[in-house]
């Protein structure tokens, strides 16, 4: 009878359960994290850029609108200050065209200007003496 090589015989094979003492590979985790961040970064960047672009366009539109409204207001002011409108409004509130003005020639000199309290007068500042030129001491050394 041929002996059959059966090294394990009936011995039970152990289940391939990972060893409970296996440790997490920190470098691997770091690499995975880095890869995840790298993947997310362009998405975030793109999103931010789009959002900023939208804000910018919105602000530009607002600026254009505000400029347009300023223009409308300016033209309103121009219309309200036209000669014809001023004259019409003046008549509405009862004003009448002016007669010849009377010019009065006064030979007496006018009153002296009112004196301001000293606290309102400009503070007198001492004039800073200009420094002597660099060659002056040299001249002084001369006999």
């Amino acid at each position: 009878m041929a002996a059959i090589h059966h090294p394990l015989g009936n011995a039970r094979r152990g289940l391939p359960i990972p060893a409970t003492n296996a440790r997490l590979n920190l470098w691997l985790a770091l690499a995975i994290g880095l890869a995840a961040v790298s993947a997310l970064l362009p998405v975030v960047q793109n999103s931010l850029a789009t959002s900023r672009g939208f804000d910018l366009q919105s602000s530009q539109r607002q600026e254009v609108q505000i400029n347009g409204q300023i223009g409308v207001l300016e033209s309103d002011v121009a219309s309200l200050t036209s000669l014809a409108r001023i004259e019409r409004r003046a008549r509405e509130i009862g004003l009448v065209p002016v007669d010849d003005p009377v010019y009065v020639t006064v030979t007496e000199p006018g009153p002296a200007p009112a004196k301001l309290p000293s606290e309102y007068l400009p503070r007198a500042t001492a004039k800073k003496a200009s420094p002597a030129p660099w060659w002056k001491p040299l001249v002084n050394w001369l006999p």
Binding site: Q57, Q65, G68, V72, T81, S82, T107, E108
Partner: protein
């Protein structure tokens, strides 16, 4: 062990070669499309993808000398419809109805406009009010595009229209200051480039790039809007009263050449502009675009005696008190007889008397004392026969005949001394008389006082003195001689202002028709200044072909007198007559 190698047969090689050639052709075509003609196809793709529009810059305002607005721009919208978005009948009908509510146009009319435009965007309204345009954009009607534009408004109505001018639909100036200063006023247009969808509408949040438009400069005129209005009113009244065909009233500051008011008739009016321009069958319709004060020539008549006297006194050949005997006529080269305007004779006269009585023979006397060359040299010095350089387009040069010209006769220079055989523009005459009374300085008359850049920087335009025609002493003398012309009338009568001292001279010139003069058509004018010692205003009043045939003294003189009183009072110049002095 035996090794077998496949033998190529025709059945294998032929298809392989065919496929190979086909692949090569495809590769070649790809190289052509993607490498050789990359630029062209990329540009075409961009063109299809991107739309672009011009963004008009806001045109600068035109202000009077005190900042009053004569013309300004307001933002508006031009409304376009993209016909590709209106292919569907139901969509088009609904959109046209919505649009008609904003534009106050019939919806059918809008659809017709869009259909007529074919494939191109159809402009259904120009210059829609800004606020209405914003509401329209908010409504978001399919295919409707609002493009920013600007419209010109003139708060003073027709006042100063012939000076300010107008612009075309492309925002370029076509007449007046609008045309002369178009480059400064219009600014630099911008450009908008945007991604669009298949219907041509901008894609929301798509790529959008703009070149910002740069606003135009504001232009500050020397014109005073109150004086301009006054001059226009007085001119209209005078034309009506004297049944004239037209005329001009121009007020300038003789010391600086600044034009304070420039009224001409016929002239441009915004209120009738559309109707005037649509008269295509009337050859004279476009004549309203001319500013006659700079484009039209006339013979000044006796006003020219101011220049003749200035030249003669400056050259030292006469003084104001030099006398001569007027027998009412003078013969040129013993053949041609020249007479006075009234065919009268005034006997012994001084040179001041020549101006007071407007004696033609006296003017010839002064010219003959000067000699032809010297007299005409003075005409050149005073700025005749050359443009003044005023900042308006189409200025006429003027002309007078000189000895070297064909057909010259000594009669020409003799008659030039009293304002015939010489043609001038009203502004040339003002420039010359201005030089005669302001100390001798020939100053370019001008309409623009300053430019204001969009950042608020103001650049003043200094008066330009182009020459010295006569000495200061001569100028003083002439001023007083002209004062004696005016003071012949009592204060407040005729050509003498009621409140101010003044000087001036009238002119009445018959209009030359085919080489001769017709007594039935004349130009009556008066040129005067006030106050006498320190002139603030120099005024030319000119009436063309007044049917009542009143002379310059009778028709134009009183207009000057009243205008001088009113204008100087407005300018705050204390009156010199009836002035109350109170001493304490």
């Amino acid at each position: 062990m035996a090794h077998y190698q496949a033998q190529g047969t025709r059945r294998v090689w032929l298809p392989a070669a065919a496929f190979g050639l086909f692949a090569l052709a495809i590769c070649g075509r790809l190289v052509q499309l993607q490498v050789i003609e990359h630029g062209r196809y990329a540009a075409e793709a961009q063109k299809e993808l991107l739309g672009d529009d011009v963004i008009y810059a806001r045109r600068g305002s035109i202000l009077d000398r005190n900042g009053g607005v004569l013309a300004t721009s307001v933002d508006t919208w031009d409304i376009y419809v993209n016909p590709r978005a209106w292919k569907d009948d139901a969509v088009a009908q609904k959109a046209a109805q919505d649009l008609s509510g904003f534009l106050k146009l019939d919806s059918q009319q809008i659809r017709t406009t869009v259909k007529d435009a074919g494939q191109a965007d159809a402009r259904v309204q120009q210059d829609l009010d800004y606020e209405k345009g914003l509401a329209l954009i908010k409504k978001g009607i399919p295919g409707v595009v609002a493009l920013a534009n600007t419209a010109r408004i003139t708060p003073e109505g027709d006042v100063g229209a012939s000076v300010v001018g107008f612009i075309g639909t492309d925002n370029d100036g076509l007449a007046g200051i609008e045309a002369a200063y178009n480059e400064a006023l219009k600014g630099v247009p911008g450009r908008a480039v945007y991604e669009r969808d298949t219907t041509g509408d901008p894609i929301p949040y798509g790529q959008f790039r703009t070149t910002e438009p740069k606003r135009g400069e504001d232009v500050v005129l020397t014109i005073d809007r109150y004086l301009q209005q006054l001059a226009e009113q007085r001119l209209a009244d005078a034309i009506s009263e004297h049944r004239a065909k037209g005329g001009s009233i121009i007020v300038i500051d003789p010391m600086s050449g600044e034009i304070l008011a420039l009224a001409t008739s016929p002239g441009l009016k915004y209120s009738t502009l559309q109707a005037d321009l649509s008269k295509t069958d009337d050859p004279d319709a476009l004549a309203i675009l001319r500013n006659r004060a700079v484009t039209d020539l006339y013979e000044p008549g006796s006003v020219m005696k101011i220049i003749t006297a200035s030249a003669a006194i400056d050259a030292g050949v006469v003084t104001p008190d030099t006398t001569y005997f007027d027998n009412g006529e003078v013969y040129i080269e013993g053949k041609v007889r020249l007479t006075n305007w009234d065919n009268g004779s005034y006997g012994l006269q001084t040179m001041t008397g020549v101006l007071q009585n407007s004696i033609n023979t006296g003017a010839v006397f002064m010219e003959q004392r000067l000699g032809t060359k010297k007299f005409q040299d003075y005409l050149i010095k005073f700025g005749f026969a050359k443009p003044t350089g005023v900042d308006l387009q189409g200025e006429a040069t003027g002309i007078f005949r000189r000895p070297e010209d064909d057909g010259y006769s000594p009669v020409d220079v003799a008659t030039q001394s009293f304002g015939q055989s010489i043609s001038v523009t009203p502004l040339q005459m003002l420039q010359a008389v201005g030089a005669a009374i302001n100390g001798g300085n020939v100053i370019t008359p001008h309409l623009v006082k300053a430019h204001i850049k969009p950042d608020g920087t103001r650049n003043e335009i200094a008066p330009q003195v182009v020459g010295q025609a006569i000495s200061t002493t001569t100028s003083d003398t002439i001023r007083h001689m002209l004062g004696q012309v005016i003071s012949q009338d009592p204060d407040g009568w005729g050509r003498n202002p009621a409140k101010y001292t003044a000087g001036g001279k009238s002119g009445t010139a018959n209009v030359p028709v085919w080489g001769s003069y017709n007594d039935e058509t004349q130009i009556a004018s008066f040129i005067g200044f006030a106050p006498l010692e320190n002139p603030k205003i120099l005024v030319l009043v000119k009436l063309d072909q007044n049917a009542d045939l009143m002379t310059g003294t009778q028709a134009a003189g009183p207009i000057f007198a009243h205008l001088a009183d009113d204008a100087l009072r407005y300018l705050g110049v204390p009156p010199e007559k009836d002035n109350m002095a109170v001493s304490r």
